[in-house]
Amino acid sequence: MFQDEDLIAKCVEGDQQAQRELYDRYASKLMPMAMRYAKSQADAEDILQDAFIKIFRSLETFRKEAQFLTWMKRIVINTSINHNRKKLYQEPMLDIEKTPLHVEQELIISQFHFTELLAMIQKLPVGCRTVFNMFAIEGYAHKEIAEKLEISEGTSKSQYSRARALMKAMVIDASEIVQSKISV
């Protein structure tokens, strides 16, 4: 089994077997990330496909001091954002900062499998979903998100609040279903 460095070197040379091996090694790890930004599995597979094409084409520029998986994740995130960009323009995010927010209760999600959480995230509107992923999971600050998505910082914050509220509603619904099943 080749180390990543050897595999990368072979991929840069255009070795198709190496490309396949690298794909097999990382595709399943990157797929959940693509699924978080996409509305469906088919969308996520489109994103993953584009991302891998970019990965293979950009391998020459990969700086070895960076972690390979982290580097690939950045590409997947970037591809996901660009994939959604058209929709983001079509459905512009509104600044709903002034919308009164309900007092938050603690959201407990540890009981859910990531696939259940994925299903919830995919139900979010595209703007909310993108901001939610970038802030809550990728860890970007609202200022960075605003720059990347060409929205105001306030819009980013309000979209996140909205996403969180929607997630909360879905988590509560899902929890009630789980509870009802347990009690039965």
């Binding site: 198709q16 399943s28 959940p32 993953l48 584009d50 950045r74 540890s110 990531f114 999971i137 060409e150």
Partner: protein
């Protein structure tokens, strides 16, 4: 960041989900090298078009029996020449008498025959003394007259075993036709022969005459043959309208804007992307359109000087993966313009449609390879000046606005470009005034006049075709 976010991150930490096998198929297809739409691709396309054009041409040629030779007379054939011969010599009756008295078996009879023919021609010259012109048509008419008088005249001389029933002057006409080896259709084109052509033909005829009849020189004075004021065209001017298309190959090269790349490299979200904007490897020729008018001047029998005015719309596609937001408008990023680095954003690979609007003035010399009755084939070469009036770039992403490039700031193209032109043109004459034309041409822009500022050296080219209608303005001397 609260517990909720941390829980979320933990939930997705180490998560795996196997994508369907189609994803790898798509990746493999995406990595396959693209077929370059270069000059060879264009030749494949236009090779087929050229073959079809060739087949049509051959079809027309056979339909018009251009490849068949006929021995039929051309009653309309009319050779004009001035005569300085004394019109007082001989008469038609005398000539007929002389011919009738000729003994075909003797060498003397050959000389007599020669004399008869010369006398015949002189007689016609006498008849035409009013305008000092003798025509081959009149010679033909006389031969016909002699045929009609066959019952009254004795058998005419038939040198070298010619059929006795054929009048001698008719044989002369046959030889005239055989010597010039013209078909019936081609014979009509004698209208357009220059005096020099006629002189040459007659000189050839003289040699044949002497060889075949083994007698003294045939005495026909050709030194003063001039263009017939009624029939011969001294020079022609033609007007034409052209509609065509083709493929514009910008060969613009890519951009390697280092500052832009560094900016992108420092972008944590961008990964290690590089800006793909244009680049020769990503260029794809799209259909281009061209319309124009022109004028051609005949310079002698073979050469034509042509010029005109053409409007062309060149189109080609490039690829980009970025766009820029300026004044709230998302615009495609492409290699031929400077963008504010802070405003550049990434997108997935998308196509850019580049459209160049140009007005050009070509000046060409044409050489007539073939100038038949119906068909003409002209080889053209010359220079052209292109003035680009408008350049737009449209990204295929719906949200992107179409960019109108300021050509004064653009690295490609210059507003004014000089190009070398070459091509081949096929004409089909519908009648004396109109002709259809089809042309294939190649236009190579002169690189030294393109941008040489170190960014890219462009050597665009255009391979095109045109279909046109010619209108001949005949000028007579």
């Amino acid at each position: 960041m609260g517990d909720f976010e941390k829980d979320l991150q933990n939930a997705f930490e180490g998560a795996e989900f196997t994508p369907s096998p189609q994803v790898w198929d798509g990746v493999k297809a995406g990595l396959a090298p693209k077929k370059k739409a270069g000059v060879f691709y264009m030749w494949q396309t236009y090779g087929v078009a050229a073959a079809i054009l060739f087949l049509f041409t051959m079809g027309f040629l056979f339909r018009d029996e251009l490849f068949t030779t006929t021995g039929s007379d051309s009653p309309g054939t009319e050779l004009a020449r001035t005569s300085e011969t004394d019109p007082a010599k001989g008469s038609p009756e005398n000539a007929a008498d002389k011919m009738a008295a000729t003994d075909p078996a003797s060498v003397d009879s050959l000389k007599d025959n020669k004399e008869s023919t010369q006398s015949l021609i002189r007689n016609k010259q006498l008849q035409a003394s009013d305008n000092k012109t003798v025509t081959l048509k009149s010679l033909t008419e006389m031969a016909e007259g002699n045929r009609n008088q066959g019952s009254q005249s004795a058998a005419l001389a038939t040198p070298k075993g010619k059929e006795e029933s054929q009048p001698f002057e008719s044989q002369v006409l046959d030889q005239l036709q055989a010597a010039t080896a013209m078909s019936a259709d081609e014979a009509v084109s004698i209208y357009e022969l220059t005096p020099q052509d006629l002189q040459q033909s007659i000189a050839e005829l003289k040699i044949r005459w002497e060889l075949e009849n083994m007698v003294g020189p045939m005495e026909i004075d050709t030194t003063n043959i001039v263009a017939n004021p009624e029939t011969l065209v001294a020079s022609r001017t033609s007007l034409n309208g052209i509609f065509g298309g083709g493929n514009f190959n910008p060969n613009a090269g890519g951009t390697d804007d280092l500052a832009l790349q560094e900016n992108i490299a420092s972008d944590p979200l961008a990964g290690d992307f590089s800006v793909k904007s244009g680049g020769e490897e990503s260029e794809e020729q799209l259909g281009s359109l061209s319309v124009g008018v022109g004028i051609g001047f005949d310079l002698g029998s073979r050469w034509i000087l042509k010029t005109g005015l053409r409007y062309s719309q060149y189109r080609y596609a490039t690829t980009s993966n970025a766009y820029s937001v300026e004044d709230g408008q998302p615009l495609p990023v492409f290699s031929n313009r400077t963008f504010a680095l802070s405003q550049v954003r990434y997108a997935g690979d998308y196509e850019l449609i580049n459209t160049l609007h140009s007005i050009s003035v070509p000046v060409q010399m044409g050489y007539k390879l073939l100038d038949g009755n119906r068909f003409g084939l002209v080889l053209n070469a010359g220079l052209g000046v292109d003035y680009f009036v408008r350049y737009t770039v449209k990204g295929e992403l719906n949200f992107l606005e179409t960019t109108k490039v300021d050509l004064a700031e653009s690295q490609f193209p210059n507003r004014l470009n000089v190009n070398v032109l070459t091509g081949i043109e096929l004409n089909y004459k519908l009648n004396e005034k109109f002709a259809l034309s089809g042309e294939l041409f190649f236009r190579q822009y002169i690189p030294s006049l393109g941008p040489t500022d170190g960014i890219a050296t462009t050597t665009p080219s255009f391979f095109g075709f045109g279909l046109g209608l010619n209108y001949y303005l005949t000028s007579k001397k």
